[in-house]
Symmetry: C2
Subunit: 261 residues, 2 copies
């Protein structure tokens, strides 16, 4: 199975992108809804949670794991890779590669949670690939609660998005990385507020292509993965909101299993 | 010591009210910042956290405990009282009593997190004391993240508060209970949007009077409490935001000690 975890519901955008890119692969998802959000917590705490989540996915039969959470990807990927002997994917590198390959002016904006932006990981990775790139980042801590509330089209959400994007707009970025797996749900507003000429990069789509490319190259890993279209959703806390969002995203009833972690 | 816990920083409004009502009493505070917020989690999870937090405060010498979190007060007070043999205070009953005693029309509004409102506890307690009272409640899940971001005066915050209060305003309530310890930080905006004739009840002030009245009546408990003006702040995760908010609320540097829980 392909194991995927996130701090909550944001990682479902990654599940959806992987379902569309790798049709019929068995997927197991863990949303750490009891301990969400990760974006406001310290690195040590997020590392501990990421290790526990990976162990849970492995116990359920995952053969590769996607860290579908930018905060955990930025602070915990190394720890997870050191502790477990399976392929680990994170959502940052694929988005960075795509941004470098498609940006004409190498003038790139990044939005994310406070923890992701503070870690400076996008900036560091972009500069490693293109030392001349100009990179501007902006933490947008209110977007996750707005998405979790389902306020996807409200005027207040539009105003808050506009306010957050303003400093990036004045820098005339040509590419914007959505550095949080919740943000694709606000992609329309974000595209409108940053301007239609800016290429908005959705890390969930980028990581899904990356996993597919890896599996095409590593047939021995691909052979370990079930392809019966099964999908299991586990959460550390069952809330109404999670079921509502999952059901509306996948346009079918989603059964959530509760696990203690 | 007086032990006080909350899911995060909101309970500091209770610490402040207790400091002002019970001058010089030793206080120990625990903010469960690693597992915040509680308001979106299930009752079982919140109960487990409340028991762990109380145990921590007791291990540090607390002789009475104030549950300075509406969500935990509404779902976990009974569990905590059953498991520990010390006086336990919660923030709901004092606010309910104050609202019943001061409302002329017995037409009372309540705002809180989704978990608090869903529990129906305010409504139940108000009806027990006055079966003729009309009670209207509204969950305001975005207010906690707005407060935690320090967006106390932003136009978006004002719009969101106005939108949340609208259904209560049309009911012509004469009393509004702030059913979340974060909300006193937005009291000015709330008072303005609900109307200046509405009596806004701050549960942190109500619980502080309640604790004082209890100690005046129970000298044997009062004798157990230190009165050297010492104050210890513990958190399960140290974040910049927490230190900033604590420092600005108390207008002095606050030292936060990190504990694993």
């Amino acid at each position: 199975m392909i194991g995927i975890f996130d701090s909550g519901i944001g990682g479902l955008t990654v599940v959806k992108a992987i379902m569309e890119n790798l049709f019929g692969y068995d997927i197991i998802y863990f949303g750490d809804t009891a301990r969400t959000p990760y974006g406001t917590k310290s690195s040590e705490t997020v590392k501990k949670y990421a290790l526990e989540n990976t162990e849970f996915l492995l116990s359920k039969g995952a053969k590769i794991v996607v860290i579908a959470c930018n905060t955990a990807s930025s602070v915990a990927t190394e720890s997870v890779a050191e502790n477990f002997d399976i392929p680990i994917f994170e959502v940052i590198t694929p988005a960075v590669e795509l941004s470098i390959n498609t940006s004409h002016k190498a003038c790139i904006g990044i939005i994310g949670t406070r923890a992701t932006i503070k870690s400076g990981i996008y900036e560091k990775k972009i500069k490693e690939m293109n030392p001349h790139a100009r990179v501007y980042s902006k933490a947008c801590p209110l977007l996750v609660p707005l998405v979790e509330e389902g306020w996807l089209e409200k005027p207040e959400t539009k105003m808050i998005v506009k306010k957050y994007l303003h400093p990036l707009k004045v820098r005339q970025i040509d590419t914007l990385i959505l550095g949080c797996t919740h943000y694709p749900l606000l992609k329309n507003i974000i595209q409108k507020k940053i301007g239609k000429k800016v290429n908005v990069i959705d890390s969930s789509i980028a990581v899904a292509s990356n996993v597919r490319a890896f599996l095409e190259k590593h047939q021995e890993v691909d052979a370990l993965l079930g392809k019966k279209g099964r999908c299991g959703f586990f959460v550390s806390d069952v809330t109404d909101q999670f079921e509502k969002t999952a059901t509306s995203m996948f346009k079918r009833d989603i059964h959530l299993e509760h696990v203690k972690i």
